[in-house]
């Protein structure tokens, strides 16, 4: 296995998977950056969109576009419903986090009960599940499309945050909620808007990435670990730090896949996270997280 012949695959797959990891993680980092809420049911919403598309497009064979739109709306409603039910009863961060995780587990058990256990279901894709050859490397069209869309979404979200009036209010809330409240910003409303956008982003990630994978009741774990790892490495500060962090994880995984005989690619994300915590506890984004 000479290294030169692997040069292109590592670069291309590193970039491809990196952008897809960024797509999965932006929503998570955005919500925490603004509201310090750790959306532990984030992975479950990713799974919900997939099951909704399966229910509408495959079981009731509605046209794909319509099922996608319905699924996005349903996922946002479920996401906000979870958020509101918890908020109605408690503001204690511990109970908040535990209950969000419980909702993720509840959704897992419900889907496992309704759609049958560990059998991988397939949902239709917007893009053909075919690969083209480029620089001697096979690139799957739908993965390529999703990484380009991810790039587009990153620009859209940064434009929205940094160039629009609502963006300023979001940054103010993230900076200091109390002060922004005094300046007349309705921080509660801002948090709802940011939460809805983050659920929309995770739904889009699910729509683009799940068709090349399988829909199972435990599929929420992998995107959740990625979003977690990338956000911690990014420092949970400004959301755009999640992008370099995503590339660090994807390149490390691909390189370890090629060079290390054992299947270590799964643990790579975690090892990097621990390294970042010990070496630069504030992560790339510099959000002061020193206790």
């Amino acid at each position: 296995m000479n290294f030169f012949s692997l040069f292109f695959p590592i670069i291309i797959y590193g970039l491809l998977f990196g952008l897809n990891y960024a797509l999965i993680s932006i929503g998570f980092t955005l919500v925490f950056g603004v509201s310090k809420i750790l959306n532990l049911s984030y992975g479950a919403l990713y799974m919900t969109t997939a099951y909704m598309i399966y229910f509408f497009a495959v079981m009731n064979n509605l046209p794909l576009i319509i099922s996608i739109l319905i699924s996005i709306v349903i996922t946002i409603l479920i996401g906000l419903a979870i958020f509101y039910t918890i908020l109605k009863f408690t503001v204690n961060p511990m109970i908040f986090m535990v209950t969000m995780l419980l909702f993720a587990l509840l959704l897992q058990y419900i889907y496992s009960y309704l759609f049958g256990g560990q059998v991988g279901l397939i949902i239709p894709s917007l893009f053909p599940n075919v690969s083209i050859g480029l620089f001697g490397v096979s690139i799957n069209l739908s993965l390529l499309a999703s990484s380009l869309i991810s790039l587009l979404l990153i620009f859209l979200v940064s434009f929205w945050i940094y160039k629009t009036s609502i963006g300023r209010r979001i940054r103010a809330t993230a900076e200091d909620p109390e002060v922004s409240e005094l300046l007349g910003i309705n921080t509660k409303q801002i948090i709802i808007i940011v939460l809805s956008i983050s659920i929309l982003l995770v739904s889009i990630a699910s729509i683009l990435l799940v068709p090349t994978q399988e829909v199972t009741p435990t599929m929420w774990v992998d995107p959740f670990v990625i979003a977690f790892a990338v956000s911690i490495i990014g420092g949970l500060g400004k959301f755009e730090w999640a992008i370099p962090a995503a590339f660090i994880v994807s390149f490390a995984e691909v390189i370890s896949q090629y060079l290390i005989p054992y299947n270590v690619s799964d643990i790579v994300a975690f090892i990097i996270v621990i390294l970042f915590i010990v070496v630069f506890p504030n992560g790339l984004g510099g959000a002061r997280i020193e206790s």
Binding site: L40, L101, S112, D266, I267, V273, I277, S291
Partner: protein, 305 residues
């Protein structure tokens, strides 16, 4: 060393309940009931371990199924490599639970509470991948060790051993609670900031109690492996986080011994529901846990102070 802990109502009541369940299981003489009580005891040990650290210090530890897995897998590893006898297997489980708890809390407790929780949730998810990657190096026959020695070939005798372990652990925690360290732990749960400002560096105390807690959870893992004669990646499953945490909260967060009655109620309900409604039990359980956390964040059992 004030001894009024040992005279407190909750201590006596818990010991009586544990002994009662053993006697009832003799009376009913249905192996399924005995197995249920045995599983309940293991989960109670875990929720005591969880509550002792997360309950008192409010640092939520989502990673206990990782340490449960460590206890179970090291039991398997030491049995396969060194053929240790059962007492040593359990002692090593406490030891490795303690060490891994120590190392991980040192690395993560420096960061803010919310990150401690965040990272602790990653542990079990990564523990599974770690085993899947290095199972051949760890000389595992399959993705886990099977054919482990069982505590005893009769279920009833195994239940007695495990109940004894549960009582020993309760006594261990109560002795610790009645020492100066116990006072500091309660202080951390009460107002850690005031302690830091007025002279006590709480960091090492937190590391100590998390290590002890994870040692206790390690013991539960080892007992689980020795009762099912198998130690594999299933011990990292989220069920081994969900059940102990709900038992601890249902029993009253921070009131360690609330877990004893709560544990028996919850495990008996779920094991028997499992017979009739099968998989639906988990949905019922998750829904029950959500209602519990939202309506009664500090648990329901009033009689345990």
């Amino acid at each position: 060393m004030n001894l009024n802990y040992f005279r407190s109502r909750s201590f006596i009541l818990s010991i009586l309940i544990i002994i009662a369940t053993v006697i009832i299981s003799y009376a009913i003489n249905s192996p399924y009931f005995t197995l249920t009580i045995l599983i309940a005891d293991i989960f109670i040990i875990m929720s005591i371990g969880w509550d002792f650290s997360s309950g008192t210090t409010n640092y939520i530890n989502f990673g206990i199924s990782f340490f449960f897995g460590i206890g179970a897998l090291f039991t398997g590893f030491f049995f396969y490599s060194f053929n240790l006898s059962i007492p040593f297997l359990i002692i090593q489980a406490f030891f490795f639970g303690f060490i891994s708890g120590f190392l991980i809390t040192i690395a993560t407790l420096r960061v803010r509470g919310v990150f401690f929780t965040l990272l602790s949730l990653l542990l079990p998810l990564i523990g599974t991948d770690f085993i899947l990657a290095f199972w051949t190096v760890l000389k595992m026959p399959t993705i886990g060790y099977y054919g482990l020695p069982s505590l005893s070939n009769s279920l009833q005798v195994s239940l007695i051993y495990i109940s004894l372990f549960l009582i020993i652990i309760i006594i261990l925690i109560y002795t610790l609670y009645s020492t100066h360290i116990g006072l500091i732990l309660r202080g951390i749960g009460d107002d850690e900031e005031a302690m830091l400002a007025q002279g006590i560096n709480t960091f090492w105390y937190k590391v100590l109690i998390f290590s002890i807690s994870m040692g206790i959870v390690g013991i539960a893992g080892s007992l689980y492996a020795l009762s099912t004669t198998f130690a594999g990646i299933d011990t990292f499953g989220l069920e081994f986080l969900l059940f102990p945490m709900v038992i601890a909260i249902f029993g009253g967060k921070g009131k360690i011994l609330g877990a004893v009655p709560a544990g028996y109620v919850i495990i008996i309900l779920s094991q028997y529901l499992q017979l009739y409604v099968g998989q639906f039990t988990l949905i019922l359980f998750a829904a029950f846990a959500i209602i519990l956390f939202l309506l009664f964040p500090n648990g329901i059992s009033r009689w345990f102070k």
